[in-house]
């Protein structure tokens, strides 16, 4: 069954619950609570999982020591003083997340659900919050860009 509103045929795809609204292949959505329940697949699912795992503290879950990242711990720990710090931090942590996601993906996962790379396109900082603009590419040569707000000063 095709997922409504997409241009990709998602028949026979494994779907996940959508936690965030408006993650799509167009525009720059803002991560937040979903307004309505829906199923997602493909690059939207990957983007959601990437952002969720990126914000999950590394080692939080028993049995999965490699699930999660140190991004938030490092930001809140005062490791980011310069632009380069954030770029460097994001690169390293996102790479670990990608490795985890791809290594635990089903063997028959479609190419647009395997992450090729992520980049921090830009970011802005204001009033204790980082807005991270992330571009995620898959092995199917599809891209998605989304905004990930991160509160760091609490």
């Amino acid at each position: 069954m095709a997922i409504t509103g997409t241009s990709v045929d998602y028949s026979n795809r494994l779907v996940d619950l959508s936690l965030y609204p408006n993650i799509s292949t167009s525009g720059i959505p803002v991560i937040g609570n979903a307004d309505t329940s829906r199923a997602i697949a493909g690059i939207s699912k990957v983007a959601q999982n990437f952002s969720r795992i990126l914000l999950t503290p590394l080692g939080k879950y028993r049995g999965y020591p490699l699930l999660g990242s140190n991004l938030m711990a490092r930001i809140r720990g005062g490791f980011v003083n310069y632009d380069a710090d954030l770029l460097h931090l994001f690169s390293g942590e996102s790479m670990n997340v990608i490795i985890f996601m791809n290594s635990t993906a089903p063997a028959d996962a479609p190419a647009d659900e395997l992450v090729y790379e992520t980049t921090l396109s830009s970011y802005s900082a204001a009033r204790g919050k980082f807005n991270l603009e992330i571009q995620l590419s898959t092995f199917a040569n599809t891209d998605i860009k989304f905004l990930l707000p991160v509160i760091w000063n609490n």
Partner: protein, 547 residues
């Protein structure tokens, strides 16, 4: 990890957290749950990166593990074997529930009771409220058995205020009290100093009047398990075990039963008068109904038989069979309601006899410790200067302290009941022959967390739970001491002593560094199977060294 999951308290004592399980167990459970979901909803992504994994699989896996763990626990607690294989499950509730299936109930601890003597300086009316708390030096607390008023003319309902001397400079009254907490540590000895929580006017001092008794510890799981064979046996009078089982079921206070019947040397009833040939149809039922020997005080009339030239009066009184059936002996004669003026008392002898009954009893030894024994006690009273003194032949009141165990008559009556008694067997119920035990100082090395009273209670429990037929082993005493956490070592030798108060009125003294073995004196009904060991906590001497 403090999360809503850990604080949900899904099962009492077993929170919804994953700390009880290994990483591998969690991983396997998550895989199982993921496969379960995936098999039902084939289109759902349940890979470890998915949201569903976070939202459903992870918590569901912990729930699954907890439920499985709880199921195993329930499965294990359905049998005593399972409980014994899993000592962590062997809590009182589980064991009690299992044993209730076969009609076995744990004996709960009982409370020590006795009287406290309050010394006051004026002859006025005193009130003791029910919320008064008396505290002994070892920290045991007691409450009055009710609200009391004490005065010199008490009438039928109040306590009597006694004058301690002719001059009337000091008075006292006795308050009946019961321990607030169960356990033998509250069995404090006669004359122990007591403090009060509420002020008593003209108060001088307070102390125990007679040793406190009647307390027992709550039955341990091990002790409870030992009773299972009897609980499962038929409850009738066919065999020793079944009779024991019947009595313990009917009288929960019965701790130990030893039946001496046909072929047993100590059964002297039924022997021929001329030839020592025993006929059948007789059995002595030796019972123990209390961990500790009880002190019972009663006021009775004594007669002054004679007065020596030195002014020492020889007196006597009789303890009838109905007063305290089966009592061991008279422990003391002292001041009583009407005779407090006379002087000091010393027991010089006591003779046992018996009253006729439906049972074949030929002599005092056979009737001793049964519901049909009587005791005549002789004692001297030494005149004290300034105190009144009776004349020859005069009767006066004394307070007599009897040592014994309860229920002898009640058990005899039950066995004799027309509706249930065994045809053709003459059962005579007797209190087991007492061997009163005391220890020489035992040197024990402990850390600062150990309380001496805990050691005393452990020794007390071991000795007083030793069954008839079993020697009292020093090994057992040492093991009881070592069972207390914080005890490092016990110095040897450990000396234990005992005095057997034989049915014929004689005594046998025993001392051993190994085990107290009762000598075979079946001619006076003393042998291992008729004797029980009794010790009170104040007869346990401990030399504790903190290291």
């Amino acid at each position: 990890m403090d999360t809503p999951i850990t604080t949900l308290s899904f099962v009492p004592g077993l929170n919804l957290d994953d700390l009880s399980f290994t990483d591998l167990e969690i991983l396997q459970a998550e895989t199982l749950i993921a496969e379960s979901i995936s098999s039902r909803q084939t289109s759902l992504d349940v890979s470890p990166s998915s949201s569903i994994y976070d939202l459903v699989v992870r918590p569901k896996a912990v729930e699954y593990l907890l439920n499985r763990s709880q199921s195993f626990a329930i499965q294990a607690t359905q049998s005593l074997k399972g409980v014994q294989l899993n000592p962590t499950l062997a809590n009182d509730t589980v064991v009690d529930a299992i044993l209730s299936n076969i009609g076995v109930a744990r004996k709960t601890g009982t409370f020590a009771s006795g009287n406290i003597r309050i010394n006051v300086s004026k002859n006025i009316t005193y009130s003791i409220t029910a919320n008064q708390v008396f505290t002994s030096q070892n920290g045991s607390t007691f409450k009055p058995t009710g609200a009391f008023v004490a005065l010199s003319d008490p009438g039928a309902t109040n306590l009597k205020l006694y004058a301690t001397d002719v001059a009337g400079t000091q008075y006292f009254f006795l308050v009946p009290v019961i321990a607030i907490n169960a356990g033998v540590s509250s069995q404090i000895p006669d004359g122990s100093s007591i403090t009060t929580s509420l002020t008593i006017p003209n108060f001088i001092s307070a102390s125990t009047f007679g040793s406190f008794s009647g307390a027992s510890e709550k039955e341990s799981i091990d002790q409870l398990l030992l009773r299972i064979p009897e609980a499962l046996s038929a409850k009738n009078r066919v065999s020793r075990v079944s009779l024991s089982s019947e009595l313990k079921t009917k009288f929960p206070k019965v701790i130990d039963v030893s039946v001496m019947g046909y072929g047993d040397e100590s059964l002297i009833r039924g022997s021929g008068k001329i030839l020592p040939v025993k006929g059948g149809g007789f059995a002595d039922v030796w019972v123990r109904t209390s961990l500790s020997a009880e002190s019972v005080f009663l006021t009775t009339s004594a007669t002054l038989d004679s007065i020596s030239a030195a002014g020492v009066a020889t007196c006597s009184c009789v303890i009838p069979a109905t007063t305290y059936p089966g009592h061991f002996f008279v422990a003391s004669v002292r001041l009583s309601v009407e005779s407090q003026q006379y002087g000091s008392y010393a027991i010089t002898g006591q003779t046992k006899s018996f009253v006729p009954s439906g049972h074949k009893i030929l002599n005092a030894t056979e009737g001793s410790l049964s519901a049909y024994q009587t005791t005549t006690v002789t004692f001297t009273v030494e005149r004290e200067v300034g105190k009144l003194f009776p004349t020859a032949g005069e009767q006066f009141q004394v307070s007599v302290e009897l040592l014994g165990i309860p229920l002898i008559k009640e058990i005899q009556d039950y066995i004799d009941d027309n509706n249930s008694r065994a045809a053709g067997v003459d059962y005579l119920v007797k209190a087991s022959v007492p061997c009163l035990v005391y220890t020489s100082p035992i040197t024990i090395y402990i850390d600062s967390s150990v309380k001496e009273s805990d050691i005393q209670v452990a020794i007390y429990s071991y000795i007083n739970n030793t069954k008839m037929g079993t020697p009292l082993a020093v090994d057992g005493v040492v093991s009881a001491i070592k069972s207390i956490a914080g005890v490092s070592k016990v110095s040897f030798p450990v000396e234990i002593n005992g005095v057997v108060f034989c049915p014929d009125g004689s005594t046998i003294s025993l001392t051993s560094y190994d085990s107290l073995v009762i000598p075979n004196r079946s001619d006076i009904q003393v042998e291992q199977s008729t004797v029980s060991f009794y010790i009170s906590t104040d007869d346990i001497s401990i030399n504790a060294i903190v290291i």
